[in-house]
Symmetry: C2
Subunit: 563 residues, 2 copies
């Protein structure tokens, strides 16, 4: 069963395998083992403060189904040593406990009073299941010099780990630094991936996310992902708002950690998958969690600070956990991109981030599954970087060859019915041209051009689209032009119903034919042109040319009983 973690057999040695159960875009439902049980990803590790727990860790497991949490090794180390000999007992939590190293404290306080070696040894000693070396975070505003230093020093500390560690049952996290200096980030990812870590982490995005710079976050995540081994989980440090989980997971992040649920609660803020609201300004709880179902905002607003905070922390954690379940279910159903599209309308900057994925479309395509259970949904420009759209574009350019002997391209506007193979009139139309040199290709939005013989290949007929926007029409037009450039047809005949789509697409087609010196004939067609005999006759004349075969073809057609 996917939705419960299965306990693996432990024999003192940690399990390093990351088992991917389901995948969509770069997102994956996966599982890896630790000495305290399995972690199913994608997963948000709620940050537990060693000092003050607004939700007891035990309750996280029992009421929220949360099997893995994270606490701070540096802060834990400040507690009385007699209490912290075992982090599981200290936190009264039998699930998986990750410990962060205190790097975040370096970033916010400029430094900490502990040595990297101490922190490594301490995490081993307290029995953390997942531990992080004390890296040096780059932050979002580092100069190049400082960024270089953070990358180098973090690597040096990564190298030290081998000498320091004594246990084999702790999973170690290798943090990748470089911040917004993408070349350094790439270098860091490459160097870190040559070292043996169980999990890789993307450092320093917290302030970038606080400023809603999701386009920059996309750059950071994808720069790192392109340079990491695909078989390891990737942790995005400090990402804790449900509105952005789906995007980050779709780009390949598996683990998250955040104290947001508690920090927002302290400030009276109520999280939802579409944004954050102040409790004091609310009239209705837009949520069905056990907390919200039995209270109204006014009930809660009038309570004391502690009660309000506890209520909000629980709701916020429910909001995060539920969104993560939505993301997992979307992966299983093959509609993660669709979820990202919906969430990209939680804030314009999230849409900015989604649109920023375009230059990485080829990378996404290469690592995305190629079939799914259901059709895809297209919403214009923001859907163009979808792996399915990119895959068709690349296929036409790099692998596809038109059938032998078919050297006259007949461009037919895509009929409403999909696949066109199931449209009776279209079937007859195709059959009639079988012996001719005509190669029928459907043109339209969003795929640009689809050779008829692959029209039923997923998802070329398995999609639903909203009315095309200008960007998508231009994209489709470019696909068609690129197709004409790649494949050497002798002649092109285009059927033109004079719609917005046909105008944009055929305009590009005309330019390309002129440039490549391919003769082009355009036939203006009415609605229901498939039923019109004169269109067929005209078409056949244009396809045929003047040879013996053409005459035979013409003869066949004109006396055809089918028309």
């Amino acid at each position: 069963m996917l939705s419960q973690t299965t306990s693996s057999v432990w024999s003192g040695v940690r399990e390093t395998d990351f088992e991917v159960i389901a995948k969509d875009v770069l997102g994956r439902v996966g599982r890896f083992g630790t000495k305290s049980g399995d972690v199913e990803t994608p997963h948000l590790l709620p940050v537990i403060s060693p000092r003050r727990q607004v939700i007891p860790p035990k309750e996280m497991k029992e009421s929220f189904g949360c099997d893995a949490i994270i606490t701070n090794a540096y802060l834990l180390k400040k507690e009385p040593p007699e209490l912290t000999s075992n982090v599981h007992s200290f936190l009264d939590f039998s699930g998986v406990i990750a410990t962060d190293s205190g790097a975040y404290q370096i970033l916010s306080h400029g430094g900490i009073d502990a040595e990297p070696a101490e922190i490594v040894q301490f995490q081993e000693r307290v029995g953390a299941d997942i531990a992080v070396i004390l890296d040096v975070p780059t932050g979002d505003d580092a100069s190049r010099e400082h960024a270089e230093y953070t990358v180098g020093e973090t690597l040096r500390r990564a190298d030290e780990l081998d000498k320091l560690k004594t246990r084999k049952d702790v999973l170690w996290v290798g943090p990748i630094q470089g911040g917004l200096h993408l070349d350094l980030l790439e270098e860091s990812a490459k160097a870190m991936s040559r070292r043996e870590f169980d999990i890789y982490a993307i450092g320093s995005p917290t302030r970038i996310m606080e400023q809603y710079l999701f386009d920059k976050l996309v750059d950071m995540i994808l720069t790192v992902k392109q340079n990491l081994p695909p078989n390891k989980p990737v942790h995005l440090f400090g990402a804790g708002h449900p509105a952005m989980f789906s995007l980050a997971v779709a780009l390949g992040c598996d683990l998250f950690d955040s104290a947001s649920y508690a920090l927002y609660a302290r400030k009276g803020r109520y999280m939802t998958e579409l944004g954050t609201t102040k409790l004091d300004e609310m009239e209705y709880f837009p949520c069905s969690c056990p907390q919200c179902a039995s209270h109204t905002p006014r009930d809660i607003s009038s309570r004391n600070n502690g009660t309000r905070e506890a209520f909000l922390a629980r709701h916020n954690l429910h909001a995060c956990m539920t969104e993560m379940k939505r993301v997992k279910e979307a992966i299983v159903e093959g509609r993660l991109w669709e979820l990202v599209e919906a969430r990209a309308r939680a804030h314009p900057r999230l849409l900015t981030g989604l649109l920023h994925v375009k230059p990485y479309a080829k990378f996404l395509e290469r690592h995305s599954p190629s079939t799914k259970k259901r059709g895809i949904l297209i919403y214009g420009a923001s859907s163009l970087a979808r792996p399915e759209v990119e895959r068709h574009r690349l296929h036409l350019r790099e692998n596809y060859r038109p059938p032998q002997g078919k050297n006259v391209l007949v461009l037919v506007p895509r009929p409403g019915e999909k696949p066109s193979h199931t449209n009776r009139a279209m079937i007859e139309f195709i059959e009639r041209l079988q012996v001719s040199p005509a190669h029928i290709c459907l043109y339209g939005y969003p795929f640009g051009v689809v050779p008829i013989e692959i029209d039923d290949v997923f998802p070329l007929s398995q999609f639903e689209a909203s009315p095309p926007d200008e960007e998508s029409l231009q994209f489709a037009g470019n696909c068609l032009r690129e197709y004409l450039k790649t494949h050497a047809y002798k002649r092109v005949v285009a059927l033109d119903p004079d719609t917005e789509t046909s105008n944009v697409l055929l305009q590009g087609c005309k330019l390309q034919c002129k440039k490549s010196k391919i003769p082009l004939r355009t036939i203006r067609v009415p609605d229901q042109w498939l039923e019109k005999k004169q269109i067929h006759t005209k078409l056949i004349r244009f396809i045929g040319g003047t040879g013996r075969r053409a005459r035979r073809l013409r003869g066949m057609q004109i006396h055809s009983k089918n028309l």
Copy 2:
């Protein structure tokens, strides 16, 4: 308190007032009284079958906070009369009970064995709180003749009501027919609104919604809304999927009724605000409702049919009720349009519907509140029909006048910082031109052009926008052109940073100036142009002309200490 219905004082006469508590777009949180208590809108009346109740009505109230339900008078009438003397006892429900007339059965079975008068009298007798005359539904595929008949016959039956009714404590619903014949729908709405009904209802959209024809649904709702008194609740018959609640409410629907929660459950289908999934294909429940929190899809799949159906019906009803709370909270927060944008990405046809609102922008604007607590979010073409965007466009065209004596239009690209008034360099720039004939207007996306003196008026500086798409740039360009057409400037000076936005907007500006014979000077400006002295000098030369005032102005500027 908004989130609880207050009990009103009853004295045998029904309350006809519809009190609107909060409003956004055409959506409203409202309240009206019935003899069994108040109904707070927007509200989904779950359909309760008289025969078979998958969720007992009592539980609807206790566990779902649902104070008002609907049952079918025609089907109820088939039950033994001794049981149905009081519908509240029959259903064991003390809240508000609406009864539908059986018109849906006419639509699906072609007719029913009951007379209109019987149905009216029966509804009164059983003590329905809200009742519907037995109208004749048009359906989605009626010929014009049949549609005319349904409109006329429904009106005739509406007229009969006065003679038939004996109670004063029942609220009567006047159904509006005409289906997809919009002129008949308009006629029906006008005629029905001349009759005294407490609630008006839009008939026949069920099949249209089943086919996802949301553009047609938008036409139907807005045709009706434009012809109804604004102070009455409007019921949309048969709308029961949470993905479309926000759109329907934003267009002015207050009441819904649907059996979908139960019908989908019977077919093993799990509803969410983003669509529907088959239970058997699910791995995770993306929901925090009490049902889903404690089970997994595999648990439920393996149970017997009855348990599965009951589970799904409860979850589906939670999904509907929670979405309605989301809609209400969005109205209170003034971000209903934002919720509609997010839901328009639940299916491309919903986006098609939202885009179809554009021709009705003026009507929406007229009836939408003009200020809100927070800034608005802009997502390109789908946001252009927003009342706030339309309001500015109309204001510039119909009411706005540039300040006296300011006859040189200076077009300045909108700086990133908003409002521009708070930008120090911009303030100095404005002050320096105060004595000149220059009228500074900011140009940009999405508003096209904003005269500087109204730049801080909501929401001209209180918005966030994703990168502009082609449609939005064209829209902004048209606003700027229309502005140039409407207002008689002597000269135009445009600062051009040569961005995608400035290219589109200034292109239109050039064409319009040529057409209107207004001299135009363009100054190519670098980034940070506000800090560059030579830009100011050039600008002043272009503004000044050659008169005495111009010389004075030039003198002032060149010796200005500010630069």
